[in-house]
């Protein structure tokens, strides 16, 4: 395995729409999400609770219960092959074999009545046809790989005998058992305390360097993003509002929502100028999403056009898109802190028509 980052697109999701039929009506949880990730790369999907980040990944994995859930439109491709709604491609299982997944709360994400080792071994038995003892021996090796001391003894223990951080390590061991090409980490550190968070993130990075797997990291923590990601997609109300490389996202933020998130992020300095600023208001009701920009109601710079028309993704740089009318070439207003394409570049760079393009 090499740590080389190839430029081949490994996993790509295109124009994904997911909705849920409830008693109150249809919730449009994901409204046209597109992204892609390459081998060895980490993509972070950021957004507040309920913005659809987990739902879109679970939909891709086929984990949302249907009904009430429904994938209305879209595709998800692994090495160019659409696998949405399938369990296998080329004889390999998607879940557990090609794509591993870890979850937010390790305490409840493991079966309480099954030994840790057996839970890890199960994946190998199912996908690799290992015998029970073979799989268990490999499970012990995997526990060693994720740096669990006394792995042999630990493998015979039950989840309630593990601490939260150890459980998340065990989850990681389980997810990488079959050497998946993509690991989806759904808020892997949210339930853990800060020192353990750092350890888990370092572990993920280390494994990524060894195996070259791609990581899709779902989080609402920008500090985690800065530490881990190669590129970032910011989600709001079921759409990706800005996507960019991690540097561009932090230093050339092109969407007011990204700016808002940054201002709400704690910093080391504690003077008045660096006070945390919450984003006022709350996300729109996804039973009837607004016709225009979903962020319009909370945006301090909202314009007339924002209410009626949803902005397309405007190109603001190399692989850098933002769904905001402020990025329209004809907009002459500059906002403090918001990145704009320098005027001389606007003339030759195409924009506005980039609807539906992938990250």
């Amino acid at each position: 395995m090499s740590a080389n980052v190839s430029n081949e697109t490994l996993l790509s999701v295109d124009n994904l729409h997911v909705e849920f039929a409830t008693y109150g009506g249809i919730v449009q949880a994901v409204r046209g999400v597109s992204f892609s990730v390459e081998t060895g790369q980490t993509l972070a999907i950021v957004g507040e609770s309920g913005c659809g980040k987990s739902v879109s990944m679970q939909a891709v994995m086929g984990l949302i219960p249907m009904p009430p859930g429904r994938i209305r439109q879209g595709s998800a491709k692994l090495r160019g092959q659409d696998f949405l709604g399938k369990t296998h491609i080329d004889g390999k299982a998607i879940c557990g074999d090609e794509i591993g997944m870890i979850f937010q709360d390790p305490m409840s994400s493991l079966n309480p009545t099954m030994r840790i080792g057996d839970q890890i071994a199960e994946t190998l038995e199912v996908h690799r046809g290992y015998s029970r003892s073979q799989a268990f021996a490999r499970a012990i090796e995997l526990l060693e790989l994720v740096k669990i001391p006394e792995a042999e003894k630990r493998a015979r223990q039950y989840p309630f005998e593990f601490s939260g951080g150890m459980l998340q390590r065990a989850m990681i061991a389980m997810a990488i058992a079959c050497k998946p090409s993509v690991l989806i980490a759904d808020e892997p550190t949210t339930a853990l305390d800060v020192t353990i968070q750092a350890q888990i993130l370092d572990l993920l990075k280390e494994i990524q360097q060894e195996t070259g797997m791609a990581i899709i990291l779902i989080t609402h923590d920008l500090a985690v993003v800065a530490r881990m990601a190669d590129k970032v997609a910011v989600m709001y109300a079921g759409q990706i509002v800005e996507s960019a490389s991690v540097d561009d996202l932090f230093y050339k933020s092109a969407h007011p929502y990204t700016l808002g998130l940054k201002l709400a992020m704690p910093s080391n300095r504690s003077d008045a100028a660096n006070q945390l600023q919450p984003i006022p208001g709350s996300p729109p009701d996804l039973f009837s999403p607004p016709a225009g920009c979903a962020y319009c109601a909370r945006c301090p710079w909202a314009m007339q056009v924002c209410q009626g028309d949803n902005p397309p993704p405007f190109v603001v740089g190399d692989r850098h898109y933002a769904r905001c009318w402020l990025q329209h070439p004809q907009n002459e207003r500059d906002i403090d802190g918001l990145y704009r394409v320098p005027a001389e570049q606007v003339a030759d760079g195409p924009s506005g028509s980039a609807k539906g393009s992938t990250v």
């Binding site: 557990g96 409840s108 079966n111 309480p112 009545t113 199960e122």
Partner: protein, 310 residues
């Protein structure tokens, strides 16, 4: 684990002692006594009999004598039956009740777990509606109605076919046991179905089932390895009391099917104020119940490792 078992057994002994004492006090406070029957006895005979059975002594003294005998495993002799020791009554008739009860519980548990899991898997679809309707029926209709209906349909089936598929009543072979056991277990089965359904639904929406799906396990494997065991835990909890309740509560069914079980003696003894038989059967059933609960707790610890160390 050993310490835990010993602790539970000690608790059980105390519970049984408490049951015995409470029954003793209650029994002696009921108006009348075993000697005040329909046949009037004159005062002299009565005094003789009281002296013979120790009924003339203070109640506290009687209590201590009784407890001492009980510790030796001697429940005394029956007041109303000729030359019958309570121990003999229990020894002869309890195995019958127990066999019937265990079979009924087996029906109830297997049926409850199976149907409960089915209703959860087919939640809000036709199989769920049908089974849940039958469950309501099973809980609300008393067992003697099912017993009578069962016998009636068995008679009809036997006469239509021209030979006996299953005997309608009596005791002796396995074929005698099937229908009464089914009838006896029906109410508990219905109750367990409901219990299993709700716990199965809870398990199905839990995070670790999502994990199991993300691991790419097949639905059958998820069902057998992850859902069934965890969902069956609450059902196993009620199994202990259910065994005791079914074994002791089989009186009506025993009567309808003419089965020589202990339940009949239990009820008769209370009606006739047969002190020794009341005490014997109550203490025996009490001990049986306590033992079953302990046994289930131990089994529970085996299935759910979290219980073991706490």
């Amino acid at each position: 684990m050993l310490w835990y078992t010993l602790k539970r057994l000690l608790q059980g002994v105390i519970t049984v002692w408490f049951i015995a004492t409470a029954t003793f006090i209650g029994m002696h406070n009921v108006p009348g006594d075993p000697l005040s029957g329909e046949r009037a006895t004159n005062a002299a005979i009565r005094a003789n009999l009281e002296a013979r059975y120790g009924l003339d002594r203070p109640v506290t003294e009687q209590y201590f004598i009784y407890m001492r005998n009980m510790l030796r495993g001697d429940f005394g002799i029956s007041y109303t039956q000729q030359n019958r020791e309570v121990n003999d009554i229990i020894r002869e008739h309890f195995p019958v009740s127990a066999t019937l009860g265990v079979l009924a519980v087996l029906f109830a548990a297997l049926g409850g777990i199976l149907f409960g899991a089915l209703t959860a898997l087919f939640r809000n679809r036709l199989p769920d509606y049908i089974i849940m309707f039958l469950v309501i029926l099973g809980i609300s209709v008393p067992s003697f109605v099912f017993a009578a209906l069962g016998q009636l349909s068995l008679v009809n089936i036997n006469s239509v076919l021209g030979f006996s598929v299953l005997p309608v009543a009596g005791w002796g072979s396995v074929s005698h046991m099937l229908l009464p056991a089914l009838v006896l277990g029906l109410g508990t089965m219905a109750y367990m179905t409901r219990l299993m359904r709700s716990s199965m639904l809870e398990v199905m929406s839990s995070d670790y089932i999502r994990t199991a799906k993300a691991k790419g396990l097949s639905p059958t494997r998820i069902f057998s390895r992850h859902q069934l065991r965890n969902a069956a835990l609450p059902v196993i909890t009620v199994l202990g009391p259910a065994i005791a309740a079914i074994t002791t509560g089989g009186f009506v069914v025993e009567l309808v099917f003419a089965i020589p079980g202990l339940g009949r003696y239990f009820v008769q003894a209370v009606q006739q104020l047969d002190y020794t038989v009341i005490m014997g059967t109550t203490v025996f059933y009490g001990a049986f119940l306590v033992f079953m609960v302990i046994l289930v707790d131990l089994v529970y610890g085996w299935i759910d490792p979290r219980v073991r160390l706490q």
